[in-house]
């Protein structure tokens, strides 16, 4: 027979279980987030110095209560940003309304159906507003799939004192061969990005594009795209990499160099030339190495053929799984106005994607007028990385075959083309 006391003891675990379940359900409900029926938009941004937060606030105010934009920060690393977004969007996550997308995976997301279609009148507006290269990078299958927000490009930075010593005329376009030779003959270095990371693919792509080639064509065919890196242009690119690697102008850390280490090499006593993004201008404080920094268009791969500087930047897209697509599209329109592009550029150094954005007055105070002109001119002819849903595989295949730079020779373009085709066809592991 059970005594009352024992019975009471038995009851307790049951009460505790019910209690825990109730608590758990409360927690789960809290996780779900409340939808107040209003247009509460969540914008997934890449980390920056506060520019995106600021314009989110501006647009929330301007909308007069039509929508509210809150920001969520994605991981620092672009690859990790892609993974987080892709996995959530593949699962149809409705919690993402707007996202900041890097150009290399714009086509991939669009082909997968993750991006809401931009109405044609807005497409026209964005296309008219933005630089040609920004539009190229944002276009997939003849549709503008993201709104160009900010745009970045590379120029050739040089030390004025060094160029005077070497007697190189920088008012004319220079070639890679010229700057490598000038640097090697005068104990200088040419700083680039050649670690095993996306920055190296950017350089290779710029060299190939500069020689009039492309890494792949017919990219609408997805994995069956035609790989064209084993061309004269690919050969010219390999020649530049091999020439720099074999020359005294190569920095000691060439094979592990990135944007940051290149900036350090450039600032050293032997620093002579560097290719790097626009934001590097503000890397050297007000003194700018005793006013010794000059800038010129990106070097030519082939003499006489206009160079194609790299294109980088961010485009804004609305998720196809958002429950507030119309409001989100309006918000994107507001966030990418030339003025807001200017506000963002002032705060972060990430330059506008449109000529009108460059007219934002505070930028003229922060940057040299000639430099602003060079940025815009470079953006007009910049070459985006091959727009393909398979760019990450192409980039990986380039890195596997072109890294380290000391291994690059005449065979490299051919080897990388073969390997890239195998990777695209799923016949080889990356």
């Amino acid at each position: 027979m059970t005594t009352p006391r024992k019975r009471q003891r038995r009851v307790r675990p049951a009460v505790a279980t019910v209690g825990i379940l109730l608590m758990a359900s409360g927690v789960l409900a809290a996780c779900g987030g409340e939808d107040d029926g209003g247009n509460n938009l969540v914008w997934y941004i890449n980390p920056d110095a506060g520019g995106q937060d600021k314009i989110a606030e501006n647009c929330t105010k301007q909308s007069g209560g039509e929508y509210t934009i809150t920001t969520q920060v994605l991981p620092q690393d672009a690859g990790q940003q892609r993974i987080q977004l892709a996995r959530r969007l593949a699962a149809g996550d409705p919690e993402i309304d707007i996202m900041s997308l890097d150009p290399p995976f714009t086509a991939e997301f669009s082909a997968a159906g993750y991006l809401a279609e931009i109405p044609s009148d807005l497409q026209t507006k964005f296309e008219e507003q933005a630089f040609a290269s920004a539009v190229d990078a944002a276009t997939w299958e003849d549709e503008l799939v993201v709104a160009p927000f900010w745009s970045n490009t590379q120029v050739l930075w040089y030390r004025k004192s060094f160029v005077d010593k070497a007697g190189l005329d920088m008012s004319q376009p220079v070639t890679w061969d010229q700057i490598i030779t000038a640097a090697a003959d005068n104990d200088g270095t040419v700083a680039v990005q050649a670690n095993k990371y996306e920055g190296y693919s950017v350089w290779v792509n710029a060299l190939v594009s500069g020689a009039g080639g492309e890494i792949a064509t017919d990219t609408e065919k997805g994995a069956d795209a035609t790989v064209t890196i084993d061309s004269e242009a690919g050969q010219a690119a390999a020649d530049v990499v091999a020439e720099l690697n074999g020359s005294d102008a190569a920095p000691a850390d060439l094979s592990v160099s990135n944007e940051g280490t290149a900036a350090t090499s450039f600032a050293a006593d032997t620093g002579a030339f560097m290719v790097n993004w626009t934001f590097i201008w503000n890397n050297y404080g007000e003194e700018r190495l005793d006013d010794d920094i000059g800038f010129a268009p990106y070097p030519e791969t082939v003499e006489g053929e206009e160079s194609a500087p790299p294109y980088g930047g961010i485009g804004l897209a609305v998720s196809n799984f958002s429950e507030h697509k119309d409001a989100a599209m309006k918000a994107v329109e507001c966030l990418t106005t030339p003025e807001n592009q200017g506000v963002n550029a002032e705060l972060t150094g990430n330059m506008p994607s449109s000529p009108a954005g460059y007219d934002y007055p505070p930028l003229a105070e922060l940057y040299d007028a000639q430099l602003l002109a060079l940025f815009q001119e470079s953006l007009e002819r910049a070459a985006p990385r091959t727009v393909s849903p398979y760019w990450s595989d192409m980039s990986g295949a380039i890195l596997s075959t072109w890294h380290p730079p000391s291994g690059v020779d005449d065979q490299t373009p051919d080897e990388s083309a073969t390997f890239m085709e195998e990777v695209l066809q799923g016949e080889s592991l990356l």
Binding site: A112, G113, Y114, P389
Partner: protein
């Protein structure tokens, strides 16, 4: 001197007699079934289902971000993987890490187990301090060792007299593998010694004393009495650690990200599935990884010739 092993139980002969199952035994059996049923069902849902899913996915060429290109390819993914040089390079790395770390851990772990077993004073403190590394999160210990070996702020270069101060441990294949293995050994030796300690404490002191009286030296007692009687415990320790080591991931992810050809099989699988969202190829890799783990478990059990039922103390 012959090997002294505790007498085997006589139960085996009895078990071979025709089984007459009483009502009570049958009822107990039924109760047992009911008690394990929830666990079995849960296991089926959380492990068997994903495994079946992986097996199914491995037959497709399927990329998460290109769902329209999904295509049935049969066993082609396995063919791709098994003929790929990168796969074999990574498998070799993984086997090497497993063999080297488990061998070293077994020796050091046994020494630690002896210390923990025999120590008379400050027993709690010694046991705790030996076990501390195992209590540290693997990622944290990997970072700690990465900083230790780092060219810029590490102390290893300064402490080792025969290593130049500007030596980059993560700049070469073998030196990077060495750093990875050191962190793995440091982290998991305590686990090994804990399992061995359990085996040590099961050995009857009577047997050791009897051997001593018979004139066995310390070395003979170790090899002829202690180790043979610990065989089951050693098997369990080696099995657990070998399977863990074969799936090594965290240390490599933190320390080298797979650079300098230091990638392991798990890391390769991670890159295919998570980074490249190649669900088909990646699933094929994970199925192969699973089969490799099964094979290793089978080989170790065979190698030690241990009856698992006996190891658990069952009749």
């Amino acid at each position: 001197m012959s090997t002294t092993v505790a007498p085997k139980k006589q139960a085996r002969k009895k078990a071979q007699a025709p089984a007459i199952i009483s009502d009570r035994a049958r009822a107990e059996n039924r109760l047992g079934m009911r008690l394990v049923a929830p666990a079995v069902i849960l296991m089926l849902i959380v492990t068997a289902w994903p495994m079946a899913q992986a097996l199914y996915l491995s037959l497709f060429r399927y990329r998460l971000t290109a769902p329209d290109d999904r295509e049935f390819v049969g066993l082609a993914n396995y063919g791709t993987v098994l003929t790929d040089q990168l796969f074999w390079q990574d498998t070799w790395n993984t086997v090497l890490i497993m063999v080297v770390t488990v061998a070293i851990e077994l020796v050091i772990g046994f020494a630690f187990a002896m210390v923990m077993h025999r120590i008379i004073f400050a027993r709690g403190v010694v046991r705790t301090s030996i076990l501390i590394p195992y209590g540290i999160v693997t990622v944290v210990s990997a970072y700690a060792w990465q900083f230790a070996f780092s060219l810029n702020n590490g102390f290893v270069n300064g402490w080792l007299p025969f290593v130049p101060d500007d030596y980059n441990w993560f700049g070469g294949h073998w030196s990077a593998m060495f750093a990875i293995m050191v962190s793995e050994i440091w982290k998991t030796t305590p686990f090994m010694s804990l399992l061995l300690l359990a085996g040590l404490s099961q050995i009857s002191e009577d047997m050791i004393e009897a051997a001593q009286v018979d004139g066995a030296t310390w070395w003979q007692r170790l090899w002829k009495v202690i180790l043979p009687n610990m065989r089951a415990a050693i098997m369990v320790a080696v099995l657990f650690r070998a399977l863990d080591a074969f799936r090594i991931f965290d240390n490599i992810f933190v320390m080298t990200k797979g650079a300098e050809d230091t990638e392991s099989s798990s890391f390769l699988t991670y890159r295919q599935v998570i980074e490249q969202v190649q669900l088909g190829l990646g699933s094929a890799l994970s199925v192969l990884l699973f089969l490799a783990v099964l094979l290793i478990a089978f080989l170790i059990v065979k190698l030690f010739k241990v009856d698992l039922a006996q190891a658990r103390g069952e009749a």
